[in-house]
Structure formats: structure tokens, C-alpha cells
Amino acid sequence: MRALLLGPWLRAARGLPRAPGSGHRHRGHGGHRPQGPLRQKVSVEVLDHLEHLALVDFRDAEGVERLQKAIQFADQLHEVNTNGVEPMDSVLEDRCLYLREDDVTEGNCTKELLENAREKVEEYFVAPPGNIPLPKLEERETFLQGSQ
């Protein structure tokens, strides 16, 4: 099994000190899986950051817990020694990447595409004037507010 690339990013974003006894966990080194109360929690800052980036809404404690469990599940990969092993990002890595000839074979379906649009103006899709940024943590109603 090879290392999942998600791990290092999450560790860096947390910025929390490593729990004692959890072992030195970096890629390519067999480590210990942290137990129960010692496992690292995802901080509010990271959760807020994720909500901005992916526009997900963790909504309640259960949502956050689900994320924690997912990270914990993925962290199992660190138990494997991956020294000198190239990471695999897809089971397709040995497949041939198919090359298509440069012919025009699609398009011309304006009507069909616009059927999906809630609003349209003369065959253009309509969008708000710019990105509407998610309000800052203090200013929006979210479960995350008021959590540690």
C-alpha cells in the first residue's frame, strides 16, 4: 500500500504539537496509530478554511466527527513502510493515456445546455457579479462558531 497524499497537508495545516507517544509520523516510516484521546483533532481554523475552500458546511458535531474518522481511517496508511517507494496517485497509472484525433465532434447544443440554467440572457448563463465570499467565521451562522 502506498501513502495517501492528503496526510502531509492536513498535518501542516493543523499546526498542533504532536501528541506524546504517538510516534514520529512522516511518510516512509512505519509509525504507531494514535489511540483514542491522544489522536489529533482537526482545529476550528482548518475546518473554517475547508468550509471556505470547498463550500462544504460541517453543520454539526456529527459532520466534524465524520471528518475526524475519515482522517483517522486514512492515517492507517502510515503503518506501512514506504521507504523508496514512489507514491501512486491512481490505479490507472499503467494504463495508456488515450490520444484523440483533433477533429470537431461535439458542441452545437446551446439549447440543451441552457435548459439547465436557472437564469439566462440571450444564450449566456447568468451569474452573480463576482464571487460572493463566505463571511468570516464570526459573522456567519455555523456550527463551528463557539467551538473551541
Binding site: L53, D102, V104, E106, L113, E122, Y124, N131
Partner: protein
């Protein structure tokens, strides 16, 4: 030959110490192909909105990217032309951000391992404005990557909405990243111009800035020598070559002034406002972007081959051979210029002007083939007379009312000394009207033939000498410049139909006797 930088450090003044300027560029060139990078919809400028959009381009669920072979070949050609190492294995990634013209919420690009790396581009600058001294510089190419273009947003501020056209979404781009080896707007513009010529010669991109086929973002930073590197700002929204130098120079100046006033430079993205001639912070770009790069799960690695590694059993159509492409690269602009200089004995700066104008080099060569006049003389007519006329009337070489055949015809008359060069210019002025007359017809019409009768010419010269005793005395007293006045008088008498060189000889002969 390379020279150490023209403007690497700004001049030192009493008020402000020298500063070192770094300018890097990220250039997006639209690939010239029939269909898009990952889908079969057409690539075309100015089509009815959302008519060139496939389900994949609109990011409808269940669609998958399929790589266009032509786009890969274009990127390989460009990489080879820019002296890059081509990565035989390159990877695709997703770059995530939200914007209305990016329906998938991510762009497929090559962030980890791009198709080409570590190249270089040589370009030339004139040291002074007169184009008499050129210096060659080099900028390192960090990498070239394949990526998707986004759709277009039209901002309707009155109704507070954005109209989105996805025709451009998914068109193939080559992003060419140039290291911060440049130090001013002029260098950047020259580098981009040379890249543009290379792309057009290769055919990998038509690189027309006005149609958005070539877009340039500049990264600018400034610092004092010996101090740590300055904070970098990114300048976007530069729409033409003219504004490129302006925008960069403005930003350099802004940063210098900001630092001199004790301020700080923010690591931000700024847009160039062409009306005001300045850069302004861009909205929607505040704060650092986190693109959450991840491998594109639907595309395996892109494998390229060369003559050695060519697989035996694979379908031809599925194999891209780097060496095969290399063998078929056309002559790049730098090679073409060298050949022009060597073959025709023209100056290097002439070769630059010839290649700078679409079709001009071919026109020049065509005239040279059809005339006895030496190329070194022909070039003057091409660069001064023809080109300035075209510029005045905003015509391209292809639109020239004077064909290479007509011009060669005219130059032959001049070369055979049937007309003077002044008369030739007159004939050319008439030819511009494009009325279908030949040079010979115009010469006859306007009676511009040179007087061939030497005796008659001698008589006129003598008459002029006889009628201007004072001038003759002045010449004999050692003031040779007065001779020009006599030549002028002969010209007047012959209505411009005398060869000034011959007249001078005749007068000198008569006056020395």
C-alpha cells in the same frame, strides 16, 4: 553576444540608492487546434455564445476528459524550440478555485510534472532608439505546461450580474513560465515578441494578443542590493504588447516609490488599467489562494517516446515521437534572420524588421529574385519606402497595392539608369494608387525618363556654367559645396530628368578644364 544587463539596477540618485528589479512572466498561449484540449468541441474566436460547448466543457456529471493529440504535439514543438528538456512522463493535476466561468470548479493543469522544463529564449533589444546597435539577451524558461482555458465572463454592472460564455472553456493552453531574468518593460516586451514570432513560425499558436490567444501576466519585485529579495506582485489584464512594457514599468516605479516612502509592498495581484495607465489591486483576489492541487484521477500519465524508446507494437496514432517532431521543426526566427544576413548581406537590424512584419521577408526575397539591383540596395526600398507607406495606411504586406513584381520592375528601371532615384520615388507614389499601370507606363506618362542624350546634357551644363559666373568663381576658389547649387539648376532645367551623378561629373570636368 550577450551583454550584462542593460537595466538590471536602476540608476542611483541622491535621493534613492540603486535598486535591483526582477521581472518574470507567465504567458498563456492558446494552442492552434481544431478542437479543445480534452473534448471534441470546436476552437473558434467569435462564435454565438455557448455554441462551441460540449457536455464535458459545461462540466455536466458523467463526462470525462480525453486528451487531444494535436495539443500535445504543439507543446512538444514549443518545448523543443525553446531548448527545453521534454519530460517523457508528465502528469495532469486539478487546480481548484471558484469562478463562474470555471464550471467544474477546477482547472486541469500540470502542476507536479509539466511536459517541458529548463529551456531558454534569446531575444534582442536596441540599445538606442535608432536601431543601430542591438544586444542579445537570454531569459530562462522554467517550464511549459498544458492546461485548460476558462470560459469568458462579461460583467454587466448595471444589472449587477455576469454573463458567462463557455465557448473558450476547455481550449488548450500552453503556459510558458519565464524566470525573473528581465528587469524592465522593454526587455519583457522584446522577449514576448520573440516568443510570439516563434509560436507563429511553429504554428503551435497564432498568438494574436488582440484575440486573447496570447496573454501575459508579469511578476515584479524590487529590492536593494545586498538586502533580501523584495515582495512580488502579479500584474494581470495586460491586453497588448504596447501596454505590456507600460504596465511593467509603472509597477516597477510604483514599488520603488512605495519603498522610498517607507511603505511596504503587498504580495497581491494587480490589474493594469489601460485608461489610467496604472496598476490597481484586483477584487476577488484578496488573500492567498489555496488551490488544493490534486492528481487528476481520470488521466493516466502522459508518456512520450523518442527514436530509442519507440514501442514496437503500438498503434502509430497513439504514439508521439519527440525525435520525429524535432526533425520537422521549421527554421526559427533567429535562424531565418541569420540566413537573411548571410545570403543578402543586409544588416542584422534589417533582418529583425523583415521578420517583424508578417510577409515582409518573403516580399523582399521575391523582389530580389526579380531584379538586378543588389539586395543591399533593395532593402532600403523595402524598409523605407514600402514599409512606411504600409504603416501610414495601416495595411499588411499582403494588402499592399504594389506587388513584388511591380516593385522589382521599377527597381530595374532605376538600376538600368533609365530613371533617376527621385523619379523612381515619384513612380512609386503613383503605383500606390493601385490603378494597374506599370512603372514604364507611368514613366512615359509623366515624362520621367532620364535624358540619354549626353550632348544635350553637356549643353545644358555649359549653359548653367555660363550663366552663373559668381558661383563658378566660388567653386574655383575652393568652395566645392556651391557645386550642388549648379547641379540643382541643371536638374531644374531638365525637369528632374538628369542623372545627378552624371551632371556632377560633367560640371566638374568642365570647371577643371
Amino acid at each position: 553576444s550577450q551583454s550584462s544587463s542593460l537595466c538590471k539596477t536602476t540608476p542611483s540618485t541622491a535621493k534613492s540608492p540603486r535598486k535591483i528589479v526582477f521581472v518574470g512572466l507567465e504567458i498563456h498561449a492558446q494552442i492552434s487546434s481544431n478542437s479543445k484540449l480534452f473534448s471534441g468541441s470546436q476552437v473558434q474566436f467569435a462564435a454565438p455564445p455557448n455554441s462551441l460547448v460540449s457536455f464535458f466543457d459545461a462540466s455536466l456529471p458523467g463526462t470525462l476528459p480525453v486528451l487531444n493529440r494535436r495539443c500535445v504535439e504543439a507543446a512538444v514543438m514549443t518545448g523543443l524550440a525553446l531548448n527545453c528538456s521534454i519530460n517523457k512522463k508528465s502528469l495532469f493535476d486539478r487546480k481548484h478555485y471558484f469562478y463562474a466561468d470555471l464550471p467544474a470548479g477546477y482547472q486541469i493543469t500540470q502542476q507536479r510534472v509539466p511536459i517541458a522544463v529548463n529551456g531558454s529564449l534569446s531575444y534582442s533589444l536596441c540599445i538606442d532608439n535608432k536601431m543601430s546597435q542591438m544586444v542579445t539577451k537570454t531569459v530562462r524558461i522554467k517550464q511549459i505546461q498544458l492546461e485548460q482555458d476558462s470560459g469568458k465572463s462579461l460583467h454587466d454592472d448595471t444589472r449587477s450580474q455576469t454573463l458567462v460564455d463557455l465557448n473558450r472553456a476547455g481550449v488548450g493552453l500552453m503556459e510558458v513560465v519565464m524566470e525573473p531574468d528581465m528587469c524592465c518593460g522593454e526587455e519583457a516586451a522584446a522577449a514576448v515578441r520573440e516568443l510570439q514570432l516563434i509560436l507563429q513560425t511553429l504554428g503551435s499558436s497564432q498568438a494574436v494578443m488582440a484575440e486573447g490567444q496570447l496573454r501575459v501576466d508579469a511578476n515584479v519585485s524590487v529590492h536593494h542590493p545586498g538586502e533580501p529579495y523584495g515582495v512580488r506582485t502579479e500584474v494581470k489584464n495586460i491586453n497588448s504588447m504596447r501596454f505590456l512594457a507600460k504596465a511593467i514599468d509603472y509597477e516597477i516605479q510604483r514599488q520603488i516609490e512605495e519603498l522610498e516612502n517607507g511603505g511596504t509592498i503587498l504580495n497581491e495581484t494587480r490589474a493594469f488599467d489601460s485608461k489610467l495607465g496604472c496598476t490597481v489591486p484586483m477584487r476577488d483576489k484578496e488573500g492567498q489562494q489555496d488551490y488544493r492541487f490534486m492528481p487528476e484521477p481520470n488521466l493516466p500519465p502522459l508518456i512520450l517516446y523518442d527514436a530509442k524508446s519507440l514501442p514496437a507494437n503500438m498503434n502509430h496514432q497513439q504514439v508521439i515521437n519527440i525525435d520525429w517532431i524535432h526533425e520537422r521543426l521549421p527554421d526559427l526566427p533567429s535562424v531565418k534572420r541569420k540566413k537573411l544576413v548571410e545570403q543578402y548581406g543586409i544588416l542584422p537590424e534589417h533582418s529583425f524588421t523583415l521578420l517583424n512584419e508578417d510577409g515582409l521577408a518573403e516580399f523582399f526575397e521575391s523582389v530580389v529574385k526579380q531584379t538586378q539591383m543588389k539586395p543591399k540596395k533593395v532593402i532600403g526600398w523595402i524598409l523605407k519606402d514600402l514599409l512606411s507607406y504600409l504603416k501610414q495606411h495601416s495595411l499588411t504586406v499582403k494588402e499592399s497595392p504594389v506587388s513584388s513584381f511591380l516593385l522589382a520592375d521599377l527597381l530595374n528601371l532605376l538600376e538600368k539608369k533609365e530613371i533617376s532615384s527621385t523619379a523612381a520615388k515619384q513612380v512609386l507614389a503613383e503605383l500606390w494608387k493601385g490603378e494597374g499601370k506599370t512603372p514604364l507606363e507611368i514613366v512615359k506618362e509623366q515624362k520621367l525618363e532620364l535624358l540619354q542624350d549626353q550632348k544635350e546634357l553637356e549643353q545644358i551644363c555649359q549653359a548653367v556654367i555660363d550663366g552663373h559666373e559668381n558661383e563658378v568663381m566660388a567653386i574655383k576658389a575652393g568652395n566645392p559645396k556651391v557645386l550642388n547649387k549648379l547641379i540643382g539648376l541643371v536638374q531644374k532645367k531638365t525637369q528632374g530628368r538628369s542623372n545627378p551623378v552624371l551632371v556632377k561629373q560633367l560640371l566638374e570636368k568642365k570647371l577643371s578644364g
